[in-house]
Amino acid sequence: MQRLEFSYSMKIVFSSPVVRHCFSLRCLPFSNAYQRVCELFLEVSPHNVLTETADGFGNRILTDRITQEHTDFSVYVNGIAEVDIAAKERETLNGIYKYPSQYTHCGERLTEVTEACRAQCAQKTPTEIAGVVMSELRRRFTYQSGATSIQTTAEEALAGGKGVCQDYAHMQIAVCRSLGVPARYVVGMQEGIGETHAWAEVYDDGIWVGIDPTNNKWVDDRYLTLSHGRDFADCGINRGLFIGGGTQTQTIEATVRVVK
């Protein structure tokens, strides 16, 4: 078990004022069998009647609609959570995680990876299969920020050979699913990196096991989960819609620190 102090801050500055700004934020860690939020401080500015709700995947969302003109929009979350992945409980599987989604359709290249993995996967457990997929991907893909965008699909990312955590997670999910291992996308924070992170989970005998292909490791108690879904599209930390705005500059900082 680890006790984590976390903070997430996001600020957007608009070059000209915006009005009728609607947003959905998935930036609150949830409490469940293995992750317990002990303290939480939240500040959203400007805000009107901030509402907490849930989505179809069980994530916490904060929503609001700001009618007044504003040029700055900021979100600050901080708190303490206890994480103990050994305490994960069995969950029933939603079949949707077996099937390709918007970002995880397999084209030629992913199919080729799938076949390369399949040969090594006979008699293996889903978790072991996920490990095989992770090492196959690492041989074909290198980390480089800026090489892909938030619109890049798994297949496109693999074709380019470079990308970020989102791409690693998408590829991991795509290949696992086509090998028959249910997999889902996770957004959260990890100790020490300064920004939000994305990884994957695979379903093994009722347990969702976290795997972080970007860092070539299994998820441990130093990861804090914010949301999960089929892929990136279901897990947007900040989804918004507004009138006006001109250009936007966004700064994000996310920290996780182990505390006693």
């Binding site: 959905s24 009107n48 509402t51 709700t53 179809g56 995947f57 969302i61 929503t63 077996k98 279901d234």
Partner: protein, 437 residues
């Protein structure tokens, strides 16, 4: 009845006066087309309708139970009644709608069930439309004009008055209302069914809204009035399709939707008619399983038959379909409105070969049906009575209870021998009489 035939042109002129048309896009330009009306009605006897009524209510009840199940416990999958591919690969299945419990547990408030009658007088269901079925407004207004044109026809025949549809619809909107006004939400006047949207607003007394008139705050849907006050909305009968409904959840660049509408719906603060996510139940692939769903959920024998259908997804059916293309009609499950429908007999050898390859490649994408020899209906065309293929869209409303509208939209093909009755492809329409004795 002759009174109706004699006045066909005048009645059509009156329809044009009331703007009874539908929009189509031709070379990216919006055009309004009149919907040609043939005054000879389709007549359903009291007994025939009673039979259809039972069958339709049964089907709609089962489909609603299916929707409750599939966005909830999914017993139908665990019990192996339905292969899960037909849910999870369906574009109509919307995971963001999981575990939402709609007002009164009703998903398909308005179902448009398309039927045809074979030459042997057997009725077959061709399609269930559970998303935004349109068409009820046309026979309603046509009836009004026919009664003016030939009152004696209606004095001499005991025909149920179909103009009660507005009241029936209002009752459904009221039944599921979660506190507030009823609103009909149209994407705008360039939608093909805009006439219907505005006419139904007039008939139900619901407030007629464009997307920009609505907003969500604190998980509550409001209509913003000119005076600056907001009115809470209890039911929204939206004529905008799921993917455009809420840009915060679905297509992010949809300008037709209302941001956060799905959140308000999930919170149980507004009834959305029909419920988002119904597409999973009216998918052409799922259609094959509806009789099984009726048996499974109701423990009853289906009253209405499906058209004989083959599912290439199953090995046994695939073989038959590939070997008998020329006898079958092949439908692409992802298309609607009469598109993606191919008659094997009309295809050249080459076309048949490439269709065969496409089915082989992706069997889940297609269904195949035997061509039903429809019973022809009489149509008055160019001064004489001639025969045309026609279907029937029956409307089933579901609020506190299920009721089948004593009327319906009969669409007919304009060309002799053609099976294509869709209005977007030039089809016309007829009134549907349900006799009360």
């Amino acid at each position: 009845m002759y009174g109706l035939i004699d006045h066909k042109d005048e009645i059509n002129r009156l329809l044009s006066r009331y703007g009874v048309n539908f929009g189509i896009y031709k070379q990216n330009e919006f055009h309004e087309r009149l919907f040609p009306f043939d005054t000879i009605p389709r007549i359903l006897t009291k007994d025939e309708f009673a039979f259809l009524e039972r069958g339709l209510a049964q089907r709609v009840l089962a489909l609603n139970l299916f929707l409750n199940d599939i966005y909830g416990e999914k017993k139908v999958l665990h019990d192996g009644i339905l292969p899960e591919d037909f849910v999870y690969r369906s574009t109509g299945f919307l995971p963001p709608c999981e575990h939402i419990i709609p007002s009164k547990r009703v998903y398909n408030h308005i179902s448009g069930i398309d039927l045809v009658q074979g030459k042997d007088l057997t009725w077959y269901v061709l399609e269930d439309n559970l998303r935004i079925p349109s068409g009820a407004s046309y026979p309603m207004i046509a009836r009004d004009l026919c009664r003016r044109a030939s009152p004696s026809t209606f004095q001499n025949n005991a025909v149920f008055d179909n103009r009660c549809y507005g009241k029936m619809l209002k009752k459904v909107l009221d039944d599921v209302n979660l506190g507030g006004i009823n609103v009909i939400l149209t994407p705008g006047r360039y939608n093909s069914a805009f006439f219907e949207h505005s006419y139904l607003a007039e008939q139900t007394g619901a407030v007629f809204a464009m997307p920009q008139d609505l907003f969500v705050e604190g998980n509550v849907l409001y209509y913003s009035e000119y005076s600056g006050t907001r009115r809470r909305v209890g039911t929204v009968y939206r004529r905008i399709s799921d993917e455009y409904l809420d840009p915060m959840t679905f297509l992010p660049d949809s300008l037709l939707g209302v941001p956060h509408l799905l959140d308000a719906y999930r919170a149980g603060n507004v009834a959305v008619v029909n419920a988002p996510g119904n597409g999973v139940a009216d998918d052409k692939g799922l259609y094959y399983f509806v009789p099984a769903l009726i048996r499974y959920y109701l423990g009853e024998t289906p009253i209405l038959e499906n058209a004989p259908t083959f599912l290439p997804y199953f090995e046994r059916d695939l073989k038959y379909v590939l070997g008998n293309l020329e006898k079958l009609v092949i439908k692409d499950v992802s298309e609607s409105g009469g598109y993606g429908v191919l008659f094997g007999s009309n295809l050249s050898a080459n076309e048949r070969e490439s269709l065969r390859a496409a089915i082989h490649e992706n069997p889940r994408r297609f269904i195949a049906q035997e061509v039903i020899d429809f019973k022809d209906l009489s149509v008055f065309e160019d001064g004489k009575v001639t025969a045309r293929k026609a279907d029937l869209r029956a409307f089933v409303l579901y609020g506190d209870e299920i009721s089948v509208w004593k009327g319906g939209l009969t669409r007919f093909a304009r060309e002799e021998g053609s099976y294509v009755v869709n209005s977007s492809q030039g089809g016309g329409f007829k009134d549907t009489w349900v006799l009360s004795r």
